[in-house]
């Protein structure tokens, strides 16, 4: 039961990410500002803490493949990235003191680094030529602020999802 609920929530959050692409980027004077939400990634990272790192890795592979095949130009970037970042989250969370602020900080830093990782791959392949400073100022930081706001919603969703029973019928 819980796996189904997690799958459905992850699916909705993935489409939430797609939906944001309809409104972003926006122009601020002569500048084009990108706000890239990472609802699905934050959910998968939080799952590794509140539910199970193995389940989190499994969903990272499933949704990484879906995103790569459906909307990716370069296969493997999201699949590999999501699994690697679940691993980083698991490692980082063992080092940091386990409280809400530390966890929020780690998740937000990882969302920022995830986008930077995709940027780095595309830059190596010559698909994007955006300078590093422009990337940080016009994409990295605005996205970080947006994700900080969205983190609360994803955190609540993860908490609710983690409380769903594994089985429909209670064990006797």
């Amino acid at each position: 039961m819980r796996v189904i609920v997690i799958f459905m929530m992850a699916l909705v959050l993935m489409y939430g990410d797609f939906l944001f692409a309809e409104f972003s980027p926006f122009n601020l004077g002569q500048l084009t500002v990108y706000t890239v939400p990472k609802l699905l990634l934050m959910f998968i990272l939080l799952m590794s803490v509140y539910i199970n790192p193995s389940i989190s890795s499994f969903f990272a592979i499933v949704f990484g493949v879906l995103i790569d095949i459906y909307s990716g130009l370069v296969y493997g970037v999201h699949t590999f990235g999501m699994v690697a970042f679940v691993f980083f989250m698991h490692t980082a969370f063992r080092v940091f003191y386990k409280d809400f602020v530390a966890m929020g900080f780690v998740v937000l830093v990882l969302t920022f680094l995830y986008d930077a990782y995709v940027y780095m791959i595309y830059r190596i392949l010559g698909l994007v030529t955006l300078p590093v400073f422009d990337y940080i100022a016009l994409r990295g930081l605005p996205s970080l602020i947006l994700n900080a706001l969205l983190f609360i919603i994803v955190f609540i969703i993860t908490l609710k999802t983690s409380k769903v029973r594994k089985n429909l019928l209670p064990k006797h």
């Binding site: 699916l11 909705v12 993935m14 489409y15 990410d17 797609f18 939906l19 944001f20 692409a21 309809e22 972003s24 980027p25 990108y34 890239v36 493949v65 879906l66 995103i67 790569d68 095949i69 459906y70 909307s71 990716g72 130009l73 370069v74 296969y75 493997g76 970037v77 999201h78 699949t79 590999f80 699994v83 690697a84 986008d115 995709v118 940027y119 791959i121 595309y122 392949l125 010559g126 698909l127 994007v128 030529t129 955006l130 300078p131």
Partner: protein
């Protein structure tokens, strides 16, 4: 034990990186077909997205209808004025087409401009917002194939990269030109200058045609069309207009900077162009 664990982790990471490189290599190759597994995955996600996205689309339509009402009267007047000219324009087009056909028959020249269109709607944009690629709601079942040109009402916007059963993934022209030079022609008065788009300058937001001879005259404002000489693109599709011309770094040739007519960030309805097989250049 700890060392062994670390070694195992290292092996997994190395294996993952190798797989990533293999996948990147696979997706960057110039493939002419989409595998069944890709088609199935793409169609499943597209179908479920249409279901989940329907309520959002409904609300969005209500808002756009309400905001559209404000300028409706002025827009209506402008459209009415344009509409009055339509019968004359249609008559002119029919006359010119008939004349064109007769002249082609006389010269025994095939029409590189012939194509059929498939109307389509954009169902999703790339969620990582890097390359502005998008997915449309028409696929193999509607006659769409890889490599077909995709246009907005304003001009050329991209190429069909992958085709699923009922959806297709479109790569923006701003991304694809870096891999396969698009053959174009610049019209300067009565002169036609042929060239190939070399790259997309993301800082300026312009396409670049390089290696134009110094003797050729290219000026800002000159329109740019596809030439139909290579690939599946028909001849005469609107691409954009020249906004800047400058000499290359050695002064041996000119570079022309092209502003696309279509706006990559505002794509909603597109037309996929199926080129007439008789007109294709081998």
């Amino acid at each position: 034990m700890n060392k062994l664990l670390n070694r195992n982790k290292m092996l997994i990471i190395l294996f993952g990186i190798i797989i990533l490189i293999v996948f990147i290599g696979f997706s960057m190759t110039d493939r002419s077909s989409t595998t069944k597994a890709e088609q199935f995955t793409g169609d499943t996600v597209a179908a479920s997205q249409s279901i989940i996205g329907a309520p959002v689309q409904f609300v969005s339509n209500i808002f756009s209808n309400v905001t559209g009402m404000f300028g409706a009267a002025t827009e209506n007047e402008a459209l009415r004025a344009q509409l009055e000219m339509m019968p004359q324009m249609y008559a002119d087009i029919e006359r010119l087409e008939a004349e064109n056909e007769k002249l082609r028959d006389a010269l025994d020249v095939s029409a590189k401009r012939k194509y059929n269109t498939v109307n389509s709607r954009v169902i999703s944009r790339s969620q990582d917002q890097w390359l502005n690629n998008f997915t449309i709601d028409k696929g193999e079942n509607d006659g769409i194939e890889e490599g077909m040109a995709v246009m907005t009402p304003e001009g050329l916007i991209g190429t069909v990269k992958r085709v699923n059963g009922n959806s297709s993934f479109v790569e923006m022209i701003t991304t694809s030109v870096s891999q396969n030079n698009l053959s174009v022609e610049i019209h300067n008065g009565d002169d036609t200058i042929y060239g190939a788009i070399d790259r997309y300058d993301s800082e300026k937001g312009l396409l670049v045609i390089d290696n134009i001879q110094n003797t050729a005259t290219v000026e800002a404002g000159d329109p740019v069309f596809t030439s139909g000489l290579t690939g599946d693109f028909p001849e005469g599709l609107n691409v954009g207009e020249v906004v800047q011309v400058e000499n290359d770094e050695y002064g041996l040739s000119q570079n022309a900077f092209i502003q696309l007519f279509s706006d990559p960030s505002e794509v909603d309805v597109v037309f996929v162009l199926e080129r007439d097989p008789d007109s294709q250049v081998d």
